[in-house]
Symmetry: C2
């Protein structure tokens, strides 16, 4: 693979895509060198910005023909380096594929192109009484295609689930440039659920070019509470009590004292004074249900030790409560020059134990950790603070950040809740999975992409060739087995 | 493959499994010759009934070593011949793996073995205030492992979704005998969602040996209505109005006049006299919600032309309403000596059009069709009636039954809602999928099972060798590509 192959792909791109959508000028290529995880930077050899699925498919087919790797990029907001370019490859940017083709009220579906911004789906559906439920913090800018690649969640996935729960079908360009239909409009689809396998595969199986999403009915009533507690233990106890009572709020978000301090400094959100932790709890549904649940939730918070409960009664107050929470990541810049946003998951029941352990990690290492997280489903976002100008501080922070992931794993959790594995966490995959588990994934990868050109280097830990996948099926590799037995 | 290989597998089975769990006596083998679709019958060469995952894995490993096909069987209630044995293969029966290992109230999970009966999960969870939501009509006898293989639904999947929505994790024996963990206890799992690909794969990718299911909270209130209409058009209009209003009942079931006649003859369920169609509508949730929805649903039914509405106010009355519906398939035997149970799906919005077309098909062919279906999600179960003693009647019924599937496909639906493809509908797959779609599934099949020993002959239309999968990845087959590029 070299310049000759890139030139061949460039020639195809120039024939198929209008001039402004084919970028090979070094300076302009540099602007695509990273996604939301800016500490990895690689300049791609070529950027293409196709206008439709046909142009996109033609570029992928050319990549396949010439053995050139490619990486798909939506809005570039990902936090795991999943859209980090390949130095000798093509970056396929979907930002010109932004048409919302249909909003079908009768069966609660919208058909959109992959570059469509998450929030724009909701904007298009709202006049019909519906919205698109998955709401990553970046929803004003992130793309549906990126959401599909990462199986994105958001504050409200406690009640409504991840992207996988809201996608009904997709058109998909496989790594040979061929278009395949995944899923269907019907509620159940015969054959393998490859749509499910593609959602969350971080661009390693191919690129979606049309996404049919499910729409959710706008709730009749929404009530948002901001609850101040003396400690994260109290806030955790309230969370457990609410869930144990069978109430599923739309969201239960927790912030600890350090995170509150940062949010306060950045947005003057006016969170309760002296709180050791706050919960932002949102209830939605029918007015009757929300009213009944509200009374229960309030009582459970008081019982767990809440010293202040505020309730938003209109959209402005609601936005104010969310402002502190939604700005928390950026706000941390006010109290620390540098920080790592970690993303891990634990079973909700392990929350108090893991928070105590993070606290001990922080104390023993002297590295400050601010905790912001989706408490309802155990998705932690610890912010590990450091000052890069102090020698060894970055390494110490990395160590604490990694140790937090170990805690998640040892408590039966996961190394990522919604940011994905990408470049950043590929090395942790063997801590979660056995060799047999990873080999099985690799076999599926090889089925879709035997030459390994679709987003190589992401998601999986060990660079390995498809022919080297260890002998899961000893003596029965596809080609060797060809003469032996019928498959179907 | 021949007797020598079967003998080798039998020898392994005898070493690992207690004697009563290894069956090779011809007479006893015959009792396993079919599943719920009795018109396909094949006697297996060997039946094994392992007691645990280890015994099961050892048999599968022996099958892999000797190239012997195997078929998994739960309770044998499947309606598409998915558990039809292979004449030169092993039938792996899970009926001794029936332990419910855990019911964890705190995180709403149960861990069960694959032979556990569907309804027993609910029985174990009820004291904790929970139940297992997917409810196939056969739930008193069908197994969780079979439900996973078929991605089973039921009357209540309108609101609660299919099996895929209720399984969090599984241990899985791949076709080489290796055990892999799929999914996790955490809400999101990094890497490929292979659990999703395995659920509904009808035993062609391997066998689950432990299933961690999600439990659903028992609703505070349940109200069941039986509504009589003059015609299916009126009943369809009521269904559309309810869904369009944003109400999601737990179930909306429809039966037409012929189905009502059959149910009446069999169970004396006392459905409304002279009804052209009935709806069974079940509302569940909080008492406040159910009360409000009930008023709306009643009004919408009246508006659509309902002439009689009965409401069950206690479990006995509720059971009476459901009795007619649940016995409908068997009841058809009262009005016809033979019948085919068809299973197809259409987008709900196409319901009136498709029912009219089925009616025309029936008229023009002279073949009677009784319609029983999950109206809420467009899952049709037409019962095509015939008398096998009349020459040509069976063929005519088959033709009408196939034409109904064509109607489903041409209206954007699917060839099966919940019974699966199995033996029975493999030939219809090319009517739903392009060659590229099917080839992609076949590539995944070959990744898991290159020798094609796991439930061969099911699900896919064309017997084909893995080495013959057409060149989706021209010049880049796994082995050929091995020298070319890195995969991970």
């Amino acid at each position: 693979m070299g310049q000759q192959e890139i030139d061949a792909v460039t020639a195809v791109a120039r024939r198929r895509i209008p001039a402004e959508g084919v970028i090979d000028d070094r300076t302009r290529l540099r602007t695509y060198e990273c996604d939301g995880l800016a500490h990895y930077r690689v300049t791609p050899a070529l950027v293409v910005v196709p206008e439709d699925a046909e142009q996109l498919g033609a570029v992928v087919a050319a990549c396949a023909e010439h053995g050139v790797p490619y990486v798909a990029r939506g809005s570039g907001t990902g936090l795991s380096g999943g859209a980090l370019p390949h130095a000798e490859g093509v970056l396929v940017v979907t930002s010109r594929m932004r048409e919302i083709r249909e909003v079908r009220r009768a069966d609660q579906r919208a058909v959109v192109e992959p570059g469509v911004i998450n929030l724009d789906v909701t904007r298009a559906a709202t006049p019909e009484g519906y919205y698109y439920a998955p709401d990553p913090s970046s929803q004003q800018i992130c793309s549906i295609g990126g959401n599909v690649a990462e199986n994105s969640g958001g504050a409200h996935c406690l009640k409504y689930g991840f992207t996988a729960n809201h996608v009904a079908a997709a058109d998909f360009v496989a790594p040979d440039g061929e278009t395949v239909r995944l899923g269907s409009t019907a509620p159940d689809t015969p054959g393998y659920d490859l749509l499910g396998a593609v959602i969350g595969s971080e661009g390693t199986l191919g690129i979606v070019t049309t996404v049919e999403v499910k729409l959710t009915r706008l709730p009749e009533d929404v009530r948002t509470l901001l609850v101040g507690f003396g400690s994260t233990d109290q806030a955790g106890a309230a969370t457990s009590a609410i869930i144990a009572a069978g109430i599923v709020p739309a969201a239960i978000e927790m912030m600890d004292a350090l995170a509150i301090e940062a949010a306060e400094a950045a947005t003057a959100c006016g969170y309760p004074d002296g709180a050791g932790a706050v919960l932002v709890i949102e209830l939605d549904g029918s007015a009757a249900d929300v009213g009944a649940e509200f009374d229960d939730v309030e009582a459970m918070c008081r019982e767990a030790g809440a010293f202040e409960i505020r309730v938003a009664t209109d959209p402005t107050e609601r936005a104010l409560i969310w402002r502190g929470r939604k700005s928390a990541f950026a706000a941390v810049g006010r109290i620390s020059p540098d920080y790592i946003v970690q993303d891990g998951v634990i079973p909700r029941t392990a929350l108090p134990e893991v928070l105590t352990a993070i606290d001990e990690l922080s104390r023993s290492s002297g590295v400050r950790v601010a905790n912001v997280f989706h408490a309802g489903d155990g998705n932690l976002h610890p912010l590990v603070l450091f000052d890069d100008s102090v020698e060894g501080a970055g390494e110490a922070a990395e160590e604490v950040s990694g140790a937090i992931l170990d805690l998640c794993i040892s408590h039966g959790g996961s190394i990522t809740g919604e940011h994905g594995v990408g470049m950043d966490k590929a090395k942790y995959m063997p801590r979660m999975y056995t060799d047999a588990d990873l080999d099985t994934m690799q076999l599926v990868r090889c089925a879709f992409d035997p030459a390994g050109i679709s987003n190589p280097g992401k998601l999986f830990p060990t660079p390995r060739l498809c022919g080297e996948v260890p002998g899961r099926h000893k003596g029965a590799h596809p080609l060797q087995a060809a003469g032996l037995a019928e498959v179907f």
